[in-house]
């Protein structure tokens, strides 16, 4: 068994530098790598390019990096719910590349799986396809999209083991599995870190081969963005 455990977020983020490109898992505030984000804030890493479906809210998630002006460019599918984001974007301080959500997921997955590019119908005929190669298959137009290239992927899982195997919970899965192995170094933080052999090999969502470093995360806030409930009777 190849051991991937590191002590904490400090050790896990060794090697991050100004100007790097990071993938960050999560959808909204669900399943985001809270510990890795905190450590990026602490390290004051600057000029980051972030590949992340969303940009957090003003005071949580990637919003924490925006507050400190650490992000140079966001690559996302949806960036609402964030006033500071809007301010920096309108002032030209923050560069934004909007990508259809399925395309974003697949550009990560392609990097993971060694596919250089893929054809998708998403965005054909829209400004997203401007300047991109297009091609007809089975009577339908497709856009050629390329795999992402990133320095670190920061993902968050529910359970993990020393071998780097990961299991996600509910919709906190989202982009996290797609980003594992899609960057030079994948750092996974987990709610529960277990000895190798604790997880059923049938139930593993992401085999440890896609993960270089894993650590036990701390103090998860797991903030709810839209608390919707129904009456009891």
């Amino acid at each position: 068994m190849i051991r991937k455990t590191v002590k904490d977020s400090r050790e896990a983020l060794q090697g991050v530098e100004d100007g790097m490109t990071f993938m960050l898992g999560g959808f909204g505030l669900c399943g985001i790598p809270e510990n890795a984000i905190s450590e990026l804030v602490r390290l004051e890493i600057k000029n980051i390019t972030c590949i992340s479906n969303n940009a957090g809210v003003d005071d949580f998630g990637l919003g924490l990096l925006l507050q400190k002006h650490q992000i140079k460019k966001m690559i996302s599918s949806y960036v609402g719910e964030n006033d500071e984001f809007e301010r920096q974007m309108l002032s030209g301080e923050l560069e934004v590349e909007l990508t259809p959500q399925g395309t974003l997921a697949e550009k990560c997955k392609a990097a993971q799986s060694g596919f250089p590019a893929f054809y998708t119908p998403a965005g054909y005929g829209t400004e997203v396809a401007e300047g991109k190669e297009t091609r007809e298959f089975n009577g339908k137009m497709h856009v050629l999209e390329y795999a992402y290239s990133a320095d670190f992927a920061f993902v968050k899982a529910w359970k993990g083991d020393e071998a780097g195997n990961l299991i996600f919970k509910g919709t906190a899965r989202n982009f996290n599995p797609c980003m594992c192995g899609a960057a030079k170094i994948t750092v996974a933080e987990v709610e529960e870190l277990l000895p190798a052999g604790s997880l059923d090999p049938n139930e593993i969502h992401i085999p440890g081969i896609f993960v270089q470093r894993i650590f036990q995360g701390k103090q998860y806030e797991k903030r709810i963005e839209q608390r919707t409930v129904r009456p009891r009777n």
Partner: protein
Amino acid sequence: MLDKIGIARRIAKEVKDGYYVNLGIGIPTLVANFVRDDISVEFQSENGVLGMGPFPFEGEEDADIINAGKQTITTMPGASFFDSATSFGMIRGKHVHLTILGAMEVAENGDIANWKIPGKMVKGMGGAMDLVASADNIIVAMMHTNKAGESKLLKRCTLPLTGVGCVKKIVTNLAVLEIVPKGFKLLERAPGVSIETIKKATEGNLLIQGDIPEMEL
């Protein structure tokens, strides 16, 4: 004339037994409340869940179980969770039978614009471009006119497009319309709405053939 609830109620009739359905944010989300309970339907949310149930009871919210609108939800027996790539594989692979979403503009050729207004803060397209490019059966839920009273059913979209030639059906506060090669074919009128009213509210080519019934809700 229908309100938002009425639009959702009318669209619910388009949901057939055995359908997997993706509901967009806004009016589409309401559709789930009005689907007949004698048919089997599963709701997919593109962030990675199939078999969505109602909102949780207070105190039972789980931060790890949300829909694409970031709302806390529950799941039904037979539900499953999956990653975002698999989720859009379902959509792109046409395994989802019906997509219902809102729009700012629809054109008579089926083009749709619903993600960007030049000069305003752009929030992003989320999964909308994947959904409209992939689904065979797309129903748009929207008001027939904007707040200024201008038609949202146009000859050509004026806003940046979300997808081209993809919309099949539109349900508005005034009418049900189908996109056909020559334009918007009027299928049904909302209760109490005249053909004249619909004509005035529709900038694109409106096709009126035979008697146009009032919709049943």
